[in-house]
Symmetry: C2
Subunit: 134 residues, 2 copies
Amino acid sequence: MDNQDLRKAGLKVTLPRMKILEILENAEENHHTAEDVYKLLLKAGEEIGLATVYRVLTQFEAAGLVRRHHFEGGQAVFELAGDGHHDHMVSVKTGKVVEFYDEIIEERQRIIAEEHGFKMTSHTLILYGEFEDE
Amino acid sequence: MDNQDLRKAGLKVTLPRMKILEILENAEENHHTAEDVYKLLLKAGEEIGLATVYRVLTQFEAAGLVRRHHFEGGQAVFELAGDGHHDHMVSVKTGKVVEFYDEIIEERQRIIAEEHGFKMTSHTLILYGEFEDE
DNA sequence: ATCGGATTGAGAACGGTTATCATATACTTT
DNA sequence: AAAGTATATGATAACCGTTCTCAATCCGAT
């Protein structure tokens, strides 16, 4: 993920955009709120405004570099868009997020949509609960 | 669904609470935003404040009478809690909502959760797209 | 290096929801 | 049936996450 990806997306290569990409790539966690990213930038010594963080994340999403999810709790979370869709398991206790993918579920969704004359364009499956080791 | 249900839930039987229950039971659609409910109340000649609508819906949710869902679009939607869980198919074009239930998906979710040492307490599956006849 | 359009930062504005608080209402006790 | 007491209500302010506004700044083609 580098400057070329930004250019391909029709985005100028600016310092905020590069730094935000960097944060997303190097962070311990995969899922971040906009505020998280903002704070990580501050911690890294970058004075980038929260509005810019929101703007850039939205642009990245439009460019397919990032995905946005709405877990419970009000704040949207963002993750780098690797290739391929996946679903999420979220701890209501710690906020920990684990990704998973199940072809059987995906298949059933397609069948159910079809049965209802529904052209599915996206879907979101989130399991809430807690991990046994936390 | 009557006054006894309210009393059982530890809620006084008040006019706003009765009217809101009535609206939810008799409306054409199953899924309503708080604002929807508020407007339906006005249309029915009831002068009930929006704050009260939010409060009552939240109390109903806590009492298990109502379920709250977060579809895309920012506003929460509420539905009477019939017995049994179900998932949703939402038209991104018209907002139309169709409910479905698939035991295979439910089963897979349980298995996946278990494989990850995850105690699942709830889950939400939403398909977005559009119905072919709209 | 210069120019012009895109981007940024600060803060105001926004939309949905919740909190505040004085008044009104249900239920209990007489 | 009336009074007492705690709870519920309504209007509006506050809140929180996010988006908008706009002057100042930056990117990159020339």
